[in-house]
C-alpha cells in the first residue's frame, strides 16, 4: 500500500531494500571496500564500521524457493534460514568479505556449520557467542556482559589480523555515534506513526528500515533526515481504518505482509520485529571509556530482545503495554514461522496475557515468501472485524 509519497529519497530506500546486491553495496564494492554480513540483531555493526566494513544484515530477499538449501536444512527448519542459505548457495552473497553468525537459535547457528561445509568461500566466517539470558535483575547483566565483551574482543582481533585493519577506540566511538544516530532517526520515523493519520504506511516504513540494513550509515542517515522532513510536512494519509495494530514476531522482509493487513482495513502503527522497531529500541552508551563493553552491555541488557533470550517475555509485555499506550494500539498480530519454537512458545504466554488485558490478539504462522495467501487474508479480515469496533 502506498501513501502517495512523492520522494526520490523514499524511492531510493525502496530500491535498496528490494535486492541483496543493491546500488549502495555495488558502489561500496566498486570502491574496493569490504562488506561484512551478519545474523542477527545482537551482532554489533559498530565493530564492522570501525573496521572499515559495510555491515550487511543477512536476508533472503529475492529468494523464490529453498531447493538448494533443503539439502542442508530440512522442513523442520526455519524458512528465513533456508531462504537466506539458498541465496548463499546460488551465489547471491558472493560480495561478502566476511560473515558473522550469532549463536541465537538452533537454526541460525547451523548456518555457520553449513556455510563451512558447503563450502561457501567467504574469507572470514565467525561464530559469535551471544549470551542467551539477561540473568536476574540482581546480576545487572554480569557476568554475561564481561563474557560477551571478551567474545567481541576476540572477533575484533580476528578482523584486525585477517584484514590488516586497526579497530581503534576513537573509531569505535565514532561508529557508536553513527549507529545511535540511525537508531534515533528510525525512532523518529516511528514517532510519526503515532498520528491519527500517519504520513507513511507500514509497508513503506518496513522498506525504509530494511534499507538501513545494507546501506552505509552516513548516507542512510542523511537520506532518512530528508525523508523525515518530507514526512513531517506531509498531511498524513487520509483514509478510514478499522483498527490501529501492532505486529510482533520475527523478521518480516516482505512488505506485502503489511499491505495485506492495511488493505483489509488495518493500520499498522508499530511493531516489535527483527527488522523493525526492535532495531532502534535503545542506544549504546557513547561516553563509556570502554566502547566494547558499552556495546556488549547494550546487546546483553539494554536492547529489546527476541524470545530466544531468557527473560525477554517480561520485557516484551512492557514493550507492548507501552505501545498500546503511546501508539493507541487496538489489537496485536503475532506472526512467525512454523518451525520457530522461541516465538511459537512465547505466543502461548503472550496470547493469554493479552486476552486477560482485553487486547485482541491474532496469531499467524506464515511462510517466508508468498504472504499474499487467501487464507492469511481471510484470517486478518476476520480479526479486523472483531477489533474494529473497539477503536
Amino acid at each position: 500500500m502506498r501513501s502517495g509519497i512523492q520522494s526520490p529519497v523514499y524511492d531510493k530506500f525502496a530500491q535498496l531494500a528490494g535486492t541483496l546486491l543493491n546500488p549502495s553495496v555495488e558502489e561500496w564494492k566498486q570502491q574496493g571496500r569490504r562488506v561484512m554480513g551478519y545474523f542477527c540483531l545482537f551482532i554489533p555493526e559498530e565493530l564492522f564500521i570501525a573496521a572499515g566494513f559495510l555491515p550487511f544484515r543477512m536476508r533472503g530477499i529475492g529468494s523464490c524457493g529453498t531447493a538448494q538449501a533443503d539439502a542442508y536444512f530440512d522442513s523442520k527448519n526455519c524458512y528465513f534460514v533456508r531462504h537466506c542459505f539458498d541465496q548463499a548457495l546460488t551465489g547471491q552473497y558472493h560480495f561478502l568479505d566476511g560473515l558473522v553468525v550469532g549463536t541465537g537459535c538452533d537454526h541460525i547457528r547451523r548456518i555457520y556449520d553449513n556455510w563451512q561445509h558447503a563450502p561457501l568461500k567467504t574469507p572470514l566466517l565467525h561464530l559469535l557467542n551471544h549470551p542467551r539470558t539477561m540473568g536476574t535483575p540482581e546480576m545487572q547483566g554480569e557476568p554475561m556482559i564481561s563474557y560477551y565483551r571478551a567474545q567481541l574482543a576476540r572477533l575484533k582481533e580476528r578482523i584486525e589480523n585477517e584484514f590488516g585493519v586497526e579497530v581503534t577506540v576513537p573509531r569505535m566511538r565514532k561508529a557508536i555515534k553513527l549507529c545511535n544516530e540511525t537508531r534515533r532517526l528510525q525512532r523518529q520515523l516511528y514517532e510519526l506513526r503515532k498520528a491519527d493519520h500517519p504520513p507513511i504506511t507500514a509497508a513503506e516504513t518496513a522498506l525504509v528500515m530494511l534499507a538501513g540494513t545494507s546501506a552505509p550509515k552516513e548516507q542512510y542517515n542523511n537520506d532518512l533526515r530528508v525523508l523525515l522532513a518530507e514526512l513531517v510536512a506531509s498531511p498524513g494519509i487520509k483514509r478510514d481504518y478499522k483498527a490501529r495494530l501492532m505486529i510482533v514476531g520475527p523478521a518480516i522482509e516482505d512488505p506485502n505482509f503489511y499491505d495485506l493487513i492495511e488493505r483489509g482495513g488495518g493500520c499498522v502503527v508499530v511493531d516489535d520485529t527483527c527488522f523493525g522497531a526492535r532495531t532502534g529500541s535503545a542506544v549504546v552508551d557513547e561516553m563509556s571509556e570502554d566502547p566494547l563493553r558499552a556495546i556488549a552491555k547494550f546487546h546483553v541488557l539494554d536492547t529489546v530482545f527476541c524470545p530466544k533470550i531468557n527473560g525477554a517475555h517480561v520485557q516484551r509485555i512492557k514493550v507492548i503495554a507501552d505501545a498500546i499506550q503511546d501508539y493507541r494500539v487496538g489489537g496485536i498480530i503475532g506472526q512467525g514461522y512454523v518451525a520457530c519454537d522461541p516465538w511459537g512458545t512465547s505466543y502461548a504466554l503472550l496470547g493469554p496475557h493479552l486476552k486477560a488485558a482485553g487486547t485482541p490478539f491474532l496469531r499467524l504462522d506464515r511462510e517466508y515468501v508468498s504472504t499474499e495467501s487467501g487464507q492469511l487474508q481471510t484470517r486478518i479480515q476476520a480479526f479486523l472485524e472483531t477489533v474494529g469496533g473497539q477503536v
Binding site: 538452533d106 547451523r110 554475561m144
Partner: protein
C-alpha cells in the same frame, strides 16, 4: 540386590532392572510426591545439569522437561498432553516431550518449586520452557536464577559457567534453607567420578561383537547414575554389578539372548517411547541389533577436580557441556554431532547408521547434510527417518519399520 556376577541367574538383567527401579523409587524424582506432601523445598530446573550439587545439598529437584516423560509419556498420557499443549496455542513444531512438560506446567500438575534454576541449554525448545516456568503465575513466589552457558567449549567458557554456578549455592541456600557442606560435596563428586568412569567403561563394553546387551542398557545405566543415584554408593554398586555381568557376557562372547546378530546399527537419537514396537521386530526380522543411542553413547566424562571450589564447578561445567549427551551434541558445532556419530560407527563396528531425525531436534535437522556426507565418505549406509521419538502418531512405528526394512534391503544388508 546382592548378586555375584560369576554365579548369575538367567534373568540377571531382569533383576538389575528391578534394582534400577528401586534406585529410581528412592531418588528425588521417585520420592517427589512425599516431598510435596511434607512441604519439603523443591527446585525446578530446565535441564539435567549438576546433579552432584543437589545430591550434596540433599535438595529434591526435578528437571521440567523430564516430567514430560514421567508425568505423561510413561503413564500413557503423552498424546493427551501434546494435544492439550497444542490447544494452549504454543509452538506447533515444539518437541513433544517439551509440549507435554509445558502442558503439565500450565495445568498445575508439576510440583511447586521454592526455587527455579535455568540455563541457556540445550535447545530452543528447552530454553523456551524457561520462559514458561519464569512466567507461570502460581510460581511467581519462587526464587529464580538464569544462567548462561557458552556454545564455545574452551576453558574460559567452562570457567564462565562454573562461576555462575558458584552463585547458585548462596541462591539455593537462601531459597531453600539448605546449607552446603563442602566436604560432603567433595565426597559426592568423588563418588560421581567413580560412577562416570564406570559408566564410560560399561558403554565401552557394549562395543563388543556380538553386542552383549540391547541399546536400552546404555540409557538405563545413564539414568541410574546421573538421574537416580548420582554420587550415591548404592548407585555405584548397582553399576558395578551391571558392568561385571556384562563383562562376563563379553568374555563368553554372548550376544542378546535369542537373537543371531546380523546387522549392527545405531539409532542416533533418543530411544523412542515406542521402542517395543520397533526394535524387537527389527531383531526378529533381520537380526538387526540397535547397539547404541544418543544417551547410551560412550561420551568422555570429564573428571571433577575437587581441589578447589572453583575447580569443582569448572569441571562440573565441563561434565555438563562436554560429557552430558544431548547437551554435548546439540549445544555444540555440527562437527561434534557428526564426529560422535562417526565415532559410534567406527567403535561399535556398525553396518549402518539410522538418524531418526526427531521432530524436536531442529539442530540435528540442520546437520543432516554434514552427517550424510560424512557417512558417504566412510562408505556406510545411512538413513534419515523423520519421526517423533515420543509421540508415535507423527509417524507410526509400522511406517518407521517399513522405512528401515526398505533401507536394509536397498543397502544389501538384509541379504547378508
Amino acid at each position: 540386590m546382592n548378586i555375584n556376577p560369576m554365579d548369575q541367574p538367567v534373568d540377571v538383567y531382569k533383576q538389575l532392572k528391578a534394582d534400577f527401579a528401586d534406585l529410581n523409587a528412592n531418588s528425588f524424582q521417585g520420592k517427589m510426591t512425599e516431598y510435596v506432601k511434607a512441604g519439603t523445598p523443591i527446585v525446578a530446573c530446565n535441564d539435567d545439569f549438576f546433579p552432584e550439587l543437589f545430591a550434596a545439598l540433599d535438595l529434591p529437584y526435578y528437571f521440567t522437561v523430564r516430567q514430560g516423560l514421567e508425568g505423561a509419556f510413561h503413564v500413557g498420557k503423552g498424546p493427551e498432553a501434546v494435544d492439550g499443549y497444542n490447544e494452549l496455542g504454543g509452538s506447533s513444531s515444539l518437541c513433544s516431550l517439551q509440549k507435554a512438560a509445558a502442558y503439565l506446567l500450565a495445568r498445575g500438575l508439576l510440583p511447586q518449586p521454592a526455587a527455579i534454576v535455568m540455563t541457556s541449554t540445550s535447545c530452543d525448545g528447552q530454553t523456551a520452557v524457561n520462559e514458561q516456568m519464569s512466567n507461570y503465575k502460581p510460581w511467581a513466589a519462587a526464587a529464580k536464577i538464569s544462567l548462561d552457558a557458552s556454545f564455545e567449549k574452551d576453558e574460559a567458557s567452562m570457567v564462565y559457567l562454573g562461576r555462575q554456578w558458584l552463585q547458585v549455592i548462596p541462591f539455593l541456600e537462601r531459597a531453600t534453607g539448605r546449607k552446603l557442606d563442602w566436604d560432603r560435596f567433595k565426597e559426592v563428586c568423588e563418588e560421581s567420578n567413580r560412577q562416570c568412569e564406570l559408566l564410560f567403561e560399561f558403554q565401552e563394553l557394549r562395543r563388543a561383537k556380538p553386542s552383549p546387551v540391547r541399546a536400552e542398557w546404555g540409557f538405563i545405566a545413564y539414568m541410574g547414575v546421573r538421574w537416580a543415584a548420582c554420587g550415591k554408593i548404592e548407585g555405584t554398586a548397582w553399576l558395578e554389578r551391571l558392568f561385571a555381568t556384562t563383562e562376563q557376557r563379553v568374555k563368553d562372547k554372548k550376544g542378546i539372548d535369542g537373537i543371531t546378530e546380523k546387522i549392527r546399527y545405531s539409532w542416533f537419537d533418543i530411544l523412542p517411547c515406542w521402542s517395543d514396537k520397533l526394535f524387537p521386530r527389527l531383531e526378529q526380522t533381520f537380526g538387526a541389533v540397535n547397539l547404541v543411542d544418543l544417551y547410551g553413547y560412550n561420551a568422555p566424562w570429564p573428571v571433577i577436580d575437587t581441589s578447589t571450589k572453583e575447580s569443582i564447578f569448572t569441571s562440573l561445567a565441563k561434565r555438563f557441556l562436554i560429557g552430558n549427551p544431548m547437551t554435548r551434541q546439540i549445544f555444540s558445532l555440527s562437527s561434534v554431532y557428526a564426529g560422535d556419530a562417526a565415532h559410534i560407527a567406527k567403535n561399535f563396528r556398525c553396518d549402518a547408521m539410522i538418524m531418526p531425525s526427531h521432530v524436536g531436534h531442529k539442530d540435528g535437522a540442520a546437520s543432516h547434510k554434514i552427517v550424510k556426507d560424512m557417512f558417504r565418505d566412510l562408505g556406510l549406509p545411512f538413513l534419515v527417518v523423520g519421526c517423533d521419538v515420543f509421540d508415535e502418531r507423527y509417524m507410526t512405528p509400522d511406517v518407521v519399520f517399513d522405512k528401515i526394512a526398505a533401507f536394509f534391503e536397498a543397502s544389501g544388508l538384509a541379504n547378508e
